[in-house]
């Protein structure tokens, strides 16, 4: 899938909006009475004027306060949110690992979830069959793989979600501070796996508030503040500017 273009991700003048109802009260009555006067949805800018180019094989950290737009940026990169304006170019297969228990269905077992999520990520039935055993082994969930996910601890859910997301070598891996939940052993294993994926030439975009973790993995950073990119550069400098925000 990788084309010969030398960037993995390029965003040009990207604006992203949320569409919300300003009143907050979710009621049909209000719309009916205000019909014509008030727009159906109000635009709220969450990301403005984003320009970012990430080269193949680069590992980049996104730093910023809670609510600054880091997660939204990852959702834009993974194609889940369409931008209001601007151009997004992505070269390669993206594996997003966005939040705890990403898309896991709580009433189904771990095994059923593996099959469902793999299918949702675009795998064929044959591929799913191939990867299932590997996913179970990597997750180290043992017999818990046959339990309903609602009985899992958060750590176990992370194990399952992470194992599913990374099993097929992605070209671009997006990680949103999900690794901090697993136990030390699994965290190490995940970081090692991410290093492995990286070594095979994948591009990594990483969000974490654990600066040591970030530093061990990424040499370059992006500081996101109030929906805009404040600074792109060396990870140490980004870290410094980040700590000055507080």
């Amino acid at each position: 899938m990788i084309s010969d273009k030398n960037f993995a991700i390029r965003l040009t003048d990207v604006d992203v909006c949320f569409y919300v109802r300003e009143t907050g009260a979710v009621s049909l009555k209000e719309l009916l009475f205000s019909l014509g006067k008030r727009p159906f949805l109000d635009k709220k800018f969450v990301l403005r004027n984003i320009n970012l180019e990430i080269k193949h094989g680069e590992s980049i950290a996104l730093l910023g306060k809670n609510g600054s737009g880091k997660s939204t940026l990852l959702r834009v990169l993974s194609g889940i949110i369409e931008p209001e304006k601007g151009k997004i170019e992505v070269n390669g297969v993206v594996a997003p690992l966005l939040s705890l228990g990403v898309g896991l269905e709580y009433e189904m077992t771990g095994l059923e979830n593996i099959k469902l999520l793999c299918a949702l990520m675009g795998m064929s039935q044959a591929e799913i069959k191939n990867y299932t055993q590997e996913i179970i082994e990597f997750s180290e969930l043992g017999e818990a793989i046959n339990w309903q996910v609602k009985r899992y601890s958060t750590g176990m859910m992370t194990r399952l979600a992470f194992s599913i997301a990374i099993i097929k070598q992605p070209d671009i891996l997006l990680i949103d501070e999900v690794l901090s939940v697993g136990d030390v052993g699994f965290q190490k294993k995940c970081l090692k796996k991410v290093e492995e994926i990286k070594a095979k030439g994948a591009t990594i975009v990483f969000v974490s508030h654990n600066f040591n973790e970030v530093k061990s993995m990424c040499s370059k950073g992006v500081l996101v503040n109030n929906g805009t990119i404040d600074f792109i550069g060396d990870i140490d400098e980004v870290g410094e500017r980040y700590s000055k925000l507080f």
Binding site: F18, L28, L41, I81, E107, M123
Partner: protein, 255 residues
């Protein structure tokens, strides 16, 4: 991964979502899929007991049962399409999948469910003197047209429901009224001739009457009724898909 429709990955995703919906509906319940049959059977008993005296038609039980099976299919599948975006909120927010796959998988799940319950219903219908002939073949186009209508109508309500959860509650309140507005518990000729034409304002009338033609009158669906069904299906789908396309950008921030 592009959000393209109709590629192999997309089809596999829709199929798996549909299977998930069916599995989840009956998970943790003892009788499982049998509930899909128990519900119309219970209603059949109620209708037979309550309405048999006023319905002086031959074989009212078969009339009621065939109406009920398809009424249940229509009303349940509209509700499933309606809530499909909200039911799949966590997937919608974390997996790059075209959101059209949710209503599409909901209607697939409903059709699979209908087909699964067909077998036992056929047995019961034979006891109620159902006559099998070639006209049964018309059930296939009729189910397809009904599904397109349900998909479109459900998407109109479903898109609005993302922003106004009242729609879901409103629909649940209105559906029993539609049940009595549609000739299921009674035949159209029981309605006084002066007001009978009002029945035809109800879109569900054409679908249920077409099913009655096949399963009660053992003939092919009335051509005019079927034409209306098709027109309703095409226009509902066009409206539903347009509305959905226009407002899907607001889904993530409102679910």
């Amino acid at each position: 991964m592009e959000k393209t429709l109709l590629n192999i990955g997309f089809r596999n995703a829709v199929l798996n979502l549909a299977l998930k919906t069916i599995k989840l509906r009956y998970k943790n319940s003892f009788l499982g899929i049998f509930w899909s049959m128990l519900n119309p059977l219970l209603f059949l008993i109620i209708l037979t007991v309550v309405f048999k005296e006023i319905n002086h038609i031959e074989n009212f039980s078969l009339y009621a049962l065939s109406g009920l099976i398809f009424w249940n299919f229509i009303s349940a599948s509209i509700l499933q399409v309606l809530t499909s975006f909200i039911d799949n909120a966590s997937i919608l927010k974390s997996v790059n999948l075209h959101p059209f796959s949710f209503p599409l998988s909901a209607i697939f799940a409903a059709v699979i469910n209908l087909l699964l319950t067909f077998i036992p219903f056929f047995i019961i219908m034979f006891f109620l003197h159902f006559q099998l002939n070639y006209t049964i073949i018309f059930v296939i186009p009729l189910i397809i047209v009904t599904s397109i209508f349900v998909l479109g109508f459900g998407m109109i309500l479903g898109t609005l429901n993302v922003f106004f959860r009242d729609i879901q509650l409103l629909w649940n309140t209105i559906i029993p009224a539609f049940f009595y507005f549609t000739p299921i518990a009674y035949t159209p000729d029981l309605v006084p001739e002066s007001t009978r034409h009002l029945l035809k304002l109800n879109p569900f009338y054409y679908f249920v009457e077409s099913f009655h033609d096949i399963f009660y009158r053992f003939k092919q669906p009335d051509g005019f009724n079927f034409l209306i069904c098709s027109l309703l299906a095409v226009s509902a789908f066009a409206m539903g898909y347009t509305l959905f396309t226009k407002y899907k950008k607001g889904f993530i921030s409102n679910i």
